[in-house]
């Protein structure tokens, strides 16, 4: 089934690799945003099936962006998966406590990223 995924990440290379992976391997439609503010606008406009959200971004970081998404009735229902290069268990617990659907870790395998997302969100 075709899905639409919004990727919010300030790092061009990560954004492009993730987008390429989801388009090429899964055939999903990808929408990109390079900041939390742009991500909020694109989420409202494109109504993606899920959002892949970077944690560490200048300006509005991932957790703040997530809270803003949840505050807005237009975007509050969209599942959010955090993407982070932080591997310490204290960070992992802090992210899980935010209430996101899942936390995935960088570096991801481009070949299996879509499978990981599907598994976390219970997609067929």
């Amino acid at each position: 089934m075709t899905r639409r995924i919004l990727i919010i990440d300030d790092e061009d290379d990560i954004r492009e690799v993730a987008g390429l992976s989801l388009e090429t391997v899964a055939g999903w439609e990808v929408v990109l945003a390079d900041s939390g503010a742009q991500g909020l606008a694109r989420a409202a406009e494109h109504q993606p099936d899920a959002i892949l959200l970077d944690v560490m971004m200048p300006g509005m970081d991932g957790p703040t962006t997530f809270r803003e998404l949840r505050k807005n009735p237009i975007t509050s229902h969209i599942p959010v998966i955090l993407l982070t290069a932080k591997v310490q268990s204290s960070d992992q617990k802090r992210f899980a406590d935010l209430g996101v659907e899942a936390v995935l870790f960088k570096p991801f395998d481009p070949l299996t990223l879509s499978d990981q997302i599907s598994t976390e969100l219970g997609w067929e």
Binding site: E11, D12, D13, I14, E16, V17, L20, S21, T24, V25, M56, A85, V87, K106, P107, F108, D109, P110, L111
Partner: protein, 110 residues
Amino acid sequence: MDAPGQENLSEALDRLWTQFLPLVNERIAILEAAAAASATKRLSAEEMEAAKSAAHKLAGVLGSYGLPRGTQVARELETMYSCLKDPGALLSAHLASLTAELRIIVETRK
């Protein structure tokens, strides 16, 4: 034999690697400058913060390009720059050694 999608992905990843190699090199140059400054005991707080950030970004992406050892080395550098207050001679040598290894890993990606 690779599946068609896998083959396309591999080729596309190679193109992205070429496109973003200057950015990767820029980040390694930051690490090299920090390691050099550390060796002469002139590593500033700003250089240390920049090195930590560069290592963090490299750790997050190199594995996606099939360079898991690159991620491992970059993560070790990130941890060192996060914890160090005043790197001594021994640690400075280790910073230089890890940074040199990272450079080789990137330059020898096929």
